[in-house]
């Protein structure tokens, strides 16, 4: 990404007629391919015995830890949320972590990608809410505690979607932008440090995006605010329980 490009949307990799292939699309598909092929390759030969391959161990750690975090944050069983939240987290984390590869531009540095991800959360909140407590019960949340709050609740719904999109975009874009600016003025050693900082910021942002999505979805549920599921319930669904 050049210094004057504000987003990878403007970097056109390949052009044919009116079809423009920009860096965002290219690297999004690359990340998707890496993740899909990687998980297919790892889950090709799974074993349930005591001897497991190191890659299976990696995936089990990731899935187990994600379940644990979702259950602690939403204070509900992690089952229904795991596919959505886990996908969001893994996609953003891989997108940001691959920034160490030379020539790679994180797709999350484009407002289009982050807006799409935020709209997914925006749609998922009513979907999970209606699945849990029906249309009436979900809509009733908007007029709590009184009808006066209805416009404010609606505005909050939209503004938090915008905030999620701009937050992720701004953080990742600032990382790549600062690296580009530093390459122009102090190219020897300093950009590496900023890249390392950007790596940390990217992973934290992925975590925060997933946490916020969990919080928003869980706030539309009937059981919101109730006690955390007990150890027994966690044990019966076969989830690892760790104190973090």
């Amino acid at each position: 990404m050049d210094m004057t490009d504000i987003s990878p949307d403007e970097v056109v990799v390949w052009k044919w007629g009116f079809v423009h292939l920009n860096a965002t699309i290219l690297w999004t598909w690359a990340v998707m391919a890496v993740m899909a092929v990687g998980s297919w390759w790892i889950t090709r030969r799974l074993s349930s015995g005591p001897e497991i391959s190191r890659w299976q161990n990696l995936l089990e750690v990731i899935v187990g830890y994600t379940r644990d975090q979702i259950r602690q944050i939403s204070r509900q069983a992690a089952g229904p949320y795991l596919p959505f939240i886990g996908t969001l987290f893994l996609f953003i984390a891989v997108c940001n972590a691959l920034a160490v590869v030379p020539g790679y531009v994180p797709p999350t540095a484009s407002l289009s990608t982050t807006a799409a991800l935020a709209i997914c959360v925006f749609v998922a909140v009513p979907v999970y809410g209606v699945m849990d407590q029906g249309v009436g019960g979900f809509l009733k949340d908007y007029v709590e505690p009184s009808v006066v709050m209805l416009p404010f609740n609606l505005i909050g719904e939209f503004s938090r979607t915008l905030a999620m999109a701009v937050r992720l975009f701004g953080n990742v874009m600032s990382g790549t932008k600062i690296a580009a600016i530093l390459l122009a003025i102090a190219p020897l050693f300093f950009p590496i440090l900023m890249q390392a900082l950007g790596l940390m910021t990217g992973l934290i942002q992925a975590y925060i995006f997933a946490v916020l999505a969990t919080v928003y979805i869980a706030s539309g549920q009937e059981a919101a605010g109730q006690a955390e599921p007990s150890d027994q319930e966690a044990a019966s669904t076969g989830e690892p329980r760790s104190e973090s």
Binding site: R167, G170, M173, L212
Partner: protein
């Protein structure tokens, strides 16, 4: 000074001013949040996991105001919506 350089000077000046003023509030807020979190961890070390997780989420929320300022200053400097218009007028 012609209109083109006037727009350039104003853009750069406002871009710097935006991020400078816009980072004061979040910096103070993040410092306060971090200090409170450290105090809570010192009082209740057992709850440090929950406190750190909430701290991260809260810091991200606070930080987003600074990020908005950064995005605005980047737009003003690198993707100024009036720039093409001004260049068009100057070359006419």
């Amino acid at each position: 000074m012609d209109i083109q350089s006037l727009v350039a000077v104003t853009s750069i000046f406002i871009g710097g001013l935006t991020i400078a003023i816009g980072s004061i509030g979040p910096a103070l807020g993040e410092g306060r949040a971090l200090a409170e979190a450290l105090r809570s961890i010192a009082q209740q070390p057992d709850e440090s996991g929950t406190i750190v997780r909430t701290l991260f989420v809260g810091l991200a929320m606070i930080e987003s105001t600074a990020i908005y300022c950064f995005v605005v200053s980047m737009i003003v400097i690198f993707a100024n919506p009036f720039w093409n218009q001004v260049v068009e007028q100057a070359t006419r």
